[in-house]
């Protein structure tokens, strides 16, 4: 549904987006990650037709956003970053206005507004002026606007920003449910959100895509991914280190004393091929040596480790 091909955007001499390409199919939820200023919002603005790209193409369904903007825009629901609303209107008036611009009429508008007001918990404030709403309500009003016409493509720029934990959960549920039949792309800073609802994630840094895969694939790229964590009691540090280090599948071992007196060991696989047997052999060693252990598990890797590793802040990069 969304085809982005080699998108480039220059603002004067500065290149904000530098050759971004990806596709989002129907039924996919794509998480769009990246540090501030990486070009996420600019990319989304080009996808929704607000900014024309310096070069590159965006196709929404069968329509090129540059050649047939109106037809393409009809398929899109868009929540801009700051969730702007017309502050001089009531929630109801605002939603009806956007419904009309989406080409709905009469009873269709009533039904659509009632439906999204229910979905986004806006019934209580429908006749209140947008001016007087709290940030969370205003955000949900703008979100309601984006799903009002049941679009095939949803582009959401930080949809859960500024919401409380309950509201975040609700919005995530809505996104997940809609993701079954639509193509959704949403940007976020919250990495758990990506794990919770995305079928795929893209990390972008300085205008280029630096990672593209399922959340599980991305997590596997973490340093700690595939290592085994063992927590024991009453075992000398040297014994633990030498016994684990002697195993043929183990590459290196890190030890750490815990506050409660137990000792943690993290064993990394020697190479990728030994990853699968690692936990098994460590468990055997531990039982044979008669260690009493509280915990033994394989690390999945954490998304924010991956994120940090591939999007180092400027200061670190220049120092290198």
């Amino acid at each position: 549904m969304i085809d982005v091909e080699n998108l480039i955007k220059e603002f004067g001499p500065k290149r904000a987006v530098n050759g971004v390409s990806f596709t989002v199919r129907r039924g996919e939820i794509l998480g769009f990650l990246g540090p501030n200023g990486a070009g996420k919002s600019t990319t989304m603005r080009m996808i929704t037709g607000f900014f024309p790209p310096t070069s590159g193409r965006v196709r929404i369904g069968d329509h090129d956003i540059a050649e047939a903007p109106t037809a393409a825009k009809k398929l899109i629901g868009y929540l801009p970053e700051s969730a702007p609303c017309y502050s001089d209107m009531t929630v109801n008036g605002f939603l009806r206005f956007t419904a009309e611009l989406r080409g709905m009429r009469g009873a269709q508008i009533d039904a659509a507004v009632a439906k999204v007001a229910g979905l986004c918990f806006l019934e209580g404030v429908l006749h209140q002026s947008v001016d007087t709403l709290s940030k969370g309500y205003r955000h949900r009003t703008c979100f309601a606007q984006s799903i009002l016409h049941d679009p095939e493509v949803l582009v959401l720029d930080e949809p859960t920003d500024g919401l409380d934990p309950n509201q975040k959960h609700e919005v995530r549920q809505i996104i997940k449910r809609m993701g079954q039949t639509k193509a959704i792309i949403f940007s976020t800073h919250i990495l758990e959100e990506v794990e919770a609802c995305c079928s795929r994630a893209i990390i972008i840094d300085r205008g280029t895509v630096v990672a593209n895969g399922t959340p599980a694939e991305l997590k596997a790229r973490a340093d700690a991914a595939g290592s085994v964590h063992l927590r024991v009691r009453g075992v000398a540090a040297e014994t633990l280190k030498s016994k684990l280090g002697a195993l043929s599948v183990v590459g290196r071992v890190q030890l750490q004393d815990n506050a409660d007196g137990s000792l943690s060991a993290r064993a990394f696989p020697r190479d990728k091929s030994t990853r699968a047997d690692l936990a098994q052999s460590i468990a055997q060693t531990a039982t044979q040596s008669g260690w009493s252990f509280d915990e033994l598990h394989t690390e999945e890797g954490r998304l924010d480790d991956v994120f940090r590793a591939i999007t180092l802040p400027d200061s670190v990069k220049t120092r290198e």
């Binding site: 037709g49 607000f50 702007p84 209107m89 206005f97 009309e100």
Partner: protein, 249 residues
């Protein structure tokens, strides 16, 4: 109804409601009517003139009255959208920039037309006291409305230039002031002393004054209509160029 007309109508309705949702509309109308009354009856010397005509005491003041009031009414049209960020929302809807520009312009113009229509007691007065030339009164109103439209189109363009309403206001006052001065008699008579006739004509050609003056005399001339129409079309087209530039094209 065709789709683009429907979009223009939707945007027009929203803008017009926006005026009446706040006290701005009422304050504007009251001030407009008070100033009109003051100029007509006090400064214009409506009664002392002793003629059954609105040209001198009433319409004469409109270029100056509109100079401040029209930019005040139109300054927020785009500047506010830019400041709040709703511009992004509006232009990612299945609406073209041209439809949005026309919708907003027509909304504000309709509002100004309403304010102008509320000056009807002046017309009543002049009819009560004498026998004015109905055609001249009608032509005066048409000219006044077109004059407001021309100023408004300029304001729409300056409003798109900035997210700050005050800057938009000042810019449009300056431009509209030029549109007056270029053909205002005291200025042209200065110019005539040293400039070649061709130049004087060129500068005067930019001014709204000679065109408005013929409406005041009761003449609706095609050339005057064309002048106002071209100022409006040119400014609105300029607005679309400014909006495209904003988005970094």
């Amino acid at each position: 109804m065709n789709e683009s007309l429907r979009n223009i109508w939707t945007i027009l309705k929203r803008e017009l409601n926006g005026y009446f949702a706040s006290p701005v509309a009422y304050v504007f109308i009251v001030i407009f009517l008070l100033l009109n009354g003051f100029f007509t009856f006090m400064l214009g010397g409506f009664f002392e003139l002793g003629e059954a005509s609105l040209s001198r005491p009433f319409f004469n003041w409109h270029p100056w009255l509109y100079l401040f009031l029209v930019p005040a009414a139109g300054m927020r049209l785009w500047a506010e959208e830019r400041r709040v960020g709703t511009l992004e929302l509006l232009l990612t809807m299945p609406v073209t920039a041209a439809q949005a520009i026309i919708g907003k312009f027509l909304a504000c113009w309709a509002f100004l037309a309403l304010a102008l229509a509320l000056t009807f007691p002046v017309v009543g007065t002049v009819y009560y006291l004498g026998h004015p030339d109905g055609g001249a009164v009608f032509a005066g109103y048409v000219g006044s409305l077109l004059l407001a439209g021309a100023y408004l189109a300029v304001t729409v363009a300056t409003s798109a230039m900035t997210r700050n309403q005050v800057i938009s206001f000042i810019l449009s006052v300056v431009i509209c002031f030029f549109l007056i001065l270029a053909g205002w008699e005291p200025v042209t008579s200065l110019l005539v002393r040293w400039a070649p006739a061709g130049l004087v004509e060129l500068v005067t050609g930019f001014s709204v004054m000679p065109h408005f003056a013929s409406f005041q005399r009761g003449v609706i001339d095609f050339r005057d209509l064309l002048f106002f129409a071209s100022v409006i079309v040119f400014s609105l087209f300029g607005t679309s160029v400014i909006l495209r530039g904003l988005r970094g094209a």
